[in-house]
Amino acid sequence: MRFIHISDVNIGADPDSDKSWGKERAGDFKETLERVVDRAKEIDCDLLLISGNLFCHQPVTSELSEINLLFSRIPATQIVITAGSRDRLRRNSSVRNFKWSNNVHYALSDGHDSIKLPALHTVVYALSLSDKKTDIGSELLKIKEEAKEEKDYVSILVMGEDKRHGSSPAPEEPEESLWDSELTYCALGGKGEHTEPGRMKCAYPGYLSPLGMENPGDHGMLTGDISIASKRILSLEFVKMSRVSYIPIRIEINEGVGNAELMRTVENEIKRRGEENIYKLRITGKRNPETEFDLSPLKKTGRIEDIVDETEPEYDFSKLFEEHTDDIIGFYIGSVMKDSEEEPQRLEKKAMYYAVDALLATERRSER
């Protein structure tokens, strides 16, 4: 039996709405899911597991219809969906009365749904997160017991991680408690990054598409094979599906680097890593005090979400202090450095930079 496992599709997310690529990004989430559906068709996938957060918020009927239409295109693939922490089941959820295509099974119980798929010799235990305080620990115990009973079936658990209930009833790391159960595969969700290959029994596919800089790296789905006869996983691999990655780049500069060179470095870096990706630049190092980086044109060189200029003007304050013992620069530096034994406060230090910078920038240029 061939299966695909995804989680945190986050339909409806709009993480970069204030950016020029925001619109495209907002469409990415559904588009990536469409590619997963296409892939399911290509590989004759029998079972598609979605462990939580298909939507990034409470879905409304129109959103559900759109996704259902997509799923109805693969009637040969059974699809099991659970609600996650972002789209958790509420008393007023629209999904409660939504009519899915007959190959789609959305877990709506307060406890867990046991979905029997006789054609696949499989029973899927689907645990949706709801706003009720479901005791997930004891629910898992029940599932483990049930799985023991169903000896002739491949048993699979589908659930997202409940961050909100986190420590209380839910086990911190559900995989630890599931590792030695009768379950064949535990399709978990709610984590940003995918499981390392090799850990086959309990796996997180990571967000199908990244939500921002906090989800760096590749994003996609897990796909694998399960032997119905031996009820064991034969293979499990990660397949990159998201076209976009968020990549933080740190660029270390030195005093000799000017605006033009910085631009060139950034351009090359972006070209090398892929222009479709979204970057956050952190520029560190010491810059020439006379160089003021104009970072705005940098944003036009590619999809740069944010630029943090952590460069410090190459002011050697102790040297400046020595050179200006008799004037305001020396007095200023002296007052900040001597004020306390401790490191000066960030704000104070920043103010000192500005003050010294202003004085030196407006200094009458004398001959060398």
Partner: protein
């Protein structure tokens, strides 16, 4: 401090070149490209080292710039007098790091230690202070107005920041510009928009938590299904019952029955017919009905005949009537009487016979009627049959069945009316349910639109949060700039109250000296204007002659040097082509003034120049000096 001599092993164009300075005024003369600035750079390099760090605008650093043209050694030595010590600095720039050898009296020091000691010997003179204070570059002021401006900014700078090069006002203006640039980037609307949206989100969430928005449609669906099922079950039942009633009532009406009473009456009739039939059956069937009247008739006739004889006899006895009568009274009478009696009897019998006959005849017709009716009944219900108890039994069973049918049909009717009642109620229920469902669906739509609004608000809020983050970073920058400004103001005021006063005093002394007492002091307490005091009145600085202005300028520059020196040391003043732009008159005046300074303060002066006129004018002015030609 005084420079005594130098020896260049190799530095730029110079190679194995030595030079000795005089104690007082030194004029180092050389035409363009003779190497004046190289020489000056050599002095700086000896004092402070040759930095690779500081590069010239053309990107060539000092090291490259002064590498000896002819190869060979790179470095040299400088001898100076400082604090009563003869100090010899020897540097080799070829080595990396630079090699320094410092000889003070009999002792020689090397490396870091030597550098440190040298700093001490130079009384903390830094390269920057050297550049900004004791080394005086080309004085650019040509116009009087420019001179005044330069002078006032010099004074202002020194008294505001302690340095002639640093301007408090310019720095503050620079910081203001920076602050405005930051402030312009702050999105003031964001915070209000953010809290507005957060408020709306809270409201929406509260509204949505109202149980009326719970999604009860699945339950409603179940209820609807249940109602539908019940309805169809009842309708089926109704149809079945109607069919049964129709069938039963059809059978009954076909057989001529309308109700139980009609069946009962029918049965009663059949029974009575049967009973009649059975009662009349014997008379009708035997001779009974003729024989009895016949016997009666015969008996009557016989008796009539006997009576007639007797009467005859009575009449015919003794011939006559009397006799007869007598006889009669005797025998005849008896016979006559008997005859009469018998005749009567016979008449009675005959009448009886007639009566019996008539009644027999009547009995026969009652029987037939009963039989006929019975046969009719049997024919209608059983078919061909004789009148028999079996047939009657069969009929009774059949009628019992009709009765059962009748009763069942009545039961069905009752049930049907009950079902009709239920159906009516169910329809009513369905109407109410539909209304409720409509209401529920309306609520769902309401909930959905609220959810949609909530979702889009949340997206907006997360965008605004990013704006707010940027805002707070910008605000922090603004705060830092403000802090910098505050601190600069505080420090500047402190400097003004100490350095400013000191400067005024020093400069005043010098001015009085240079101007030969024409002006006694300088007053720079007014930020916008500088006044000179003649002792009797204050003259605005821009009203004095150009010559006086230059003197004052020099006095202030010198005061700055003196401020820096404190009491510790007297540094040489180095003029690097400073007077190139001065006309002869002006130069003469300045040189004379400088000569005065040099002499009065025992200060070493070194003037690099490409003109011969400095030497000429000094000679004219009778100032002693040492001329060094490159």
């Amino acid at each position: 401090m005084k420079l005594k001599s130098l020896y260049i092993d190799g530095f730029g164009k110079f190679e194995k070149r030595s030079l000795e300075f005089g104690d007082g005024f030194n004029v180092i003369y050389g035409h363009n490209e003779a190497g004046k600035s190289t020489m000056h750079s050599f002095i700086k390099a000896m004092l402070f080292g040759l930095s690779k760090r500081r590069s010239f605008p053309d990107g060539v650093d000092e090291y490259e710039r002064f590498e000896p043209w002819g190869g060979g050694g790179f470095g040299g030595s400088l001898e100076l007098l400082s604090g009563g010590n003869t100090v010899r600095i020897k540097r080799d720039f070829k080595k990396s790091p630079e090699d320094i050898e410092l000889t003070v009296g009999e002792d020689t020091f090397y490396g870091e230690e030597a550098e440190k000691l040298l700093r001490e010997l130079l009384s903390g003179l830094t390269e920057k202070a050297y550049r900004n204070t004791i080394s005086i570059g080309q004085l650019k002021t040509q116009t009087e107005k420019g001179a005044h401006k330069e002078l006032s900014s010099l004074i202002k700078n020194i008294s505001g920041t302690g340095s002639g090069e640093l301007s408090y006002d310019a720095a503050i203006e620079y910081l203001d510009r920076k602050k405005r640039a930051f402030e312009e980037q702050i999105d003031e609307e964001a915070a209000a928009g953010y809290s507005r949206r957060i408020g709306r989100i809270r409201n929406l969430e509260r509204e949505l938590s109202d149980p009326k928005y719970d999604n009860r449609l699945p339950e409603y669906e179940e209820i609807g299904e249940g109602l539908k099922e019940k309805l169809s079950a009842l309708s089926g039942e109704k149809e079945k019952l109607s069919l049964r009633i129709e069938k039963a009532e059809g059978t009954l009406s076909e057989n001529g029955f309308s109700d139980l009473r009609s069946i009962d009456e029918y049965e009663k009739e059949a029974q009575s017919c049967y009973d009649e039939y059975r009662r009349l059956e014997k008379t009708a069937k035997g001779l009974k009905r003729i024989i009895l009247p016949l016997i009666l008739l015969i008996a009557g006739l016989g008796i009539a005949a006997l009576s007639g004889r007797l009467l005859y006899l009575a009449c015919t006895s003794e011939g006559g009537f009397r006799e007869a009568l007598a006889y009669a009274f005797g025998k005849a009478f008896k016979a006559g009487l008997c005859g009469a009696a018998l005749a009567g009897l016979s008449a009675v019998l005959s009448v009886s016979a007639a009566v019996v006959f008539v009644s027999g005849k009547r009995k026969l017709s009652g029987f037939e009627r009963a039989e006929k009716r019975l046969l009719e009944i049997f024919d209608a219900h059983i078919g061909d049959t004789d009148v028999s108890s079996e047939a009657l039994c069969g009929l009774k069973e059949r009628l019992e069945e009709f009765r059962r049918l009748q009763r069942a049909s009545e039961d069905c009717r009752a049930e049907l009316s009950e079902i009709n009642g239920e159906l009516l109620k169910l329809h009513e229920d369905r109407e109410t349910f539909k209304e409720k469902l409509d209401r529920e669906e309306l609520l769902r739509r309401e909930a959905e639109s609220k959810l949609m609004e909530l979702n889009s608000l949340k997206a907006e809020v997360s965008e605004l949060r990013r704006v707010l983050d940027t805002n707070s970073a910008l605000k922090e920058k603004v705060t830092a700039v403000e802090l910098a400004e505050e601190k600069l103001l505080e420090l500047s005021q402190k400097i003004k109250s100490s350095v400013g006063i000191h400067l005024n005093r020093t400069a005043s002394g010098l001015i009085s000296e240079i101007t030969g007492g024409a002006y006694k002091s300088i007053d720079s307490s007014d930020d916008s204007r500088i006044y000179l005091s003649t002792g009797r009145k204050l003259v605005p600085c821009d009203k004095v002659s150009a010559g006086t202005m230059d003197q004052i300028y020099l006095a202030v520059r010198l005061s700055a040097v003196k401020l820096m020196e404190g009491e510790k040391e007297i540094f040489p003043l180095i003029f690097d082509d400073s007077f190139a732009l001065y006309d002869d008159d002006r130069l003469k005046r300045v040189l004379a003034a400088l000569g005065g300074f040099s002499k009065g303060e025992k200060r070493q002066l070194i003037a690099f120049t490409c003109h011969g006129r400095e030497a000429e004018f000094l000679r004219e002015a009778g100032v002693s000096f040492k001329l060094i030609e490159l």
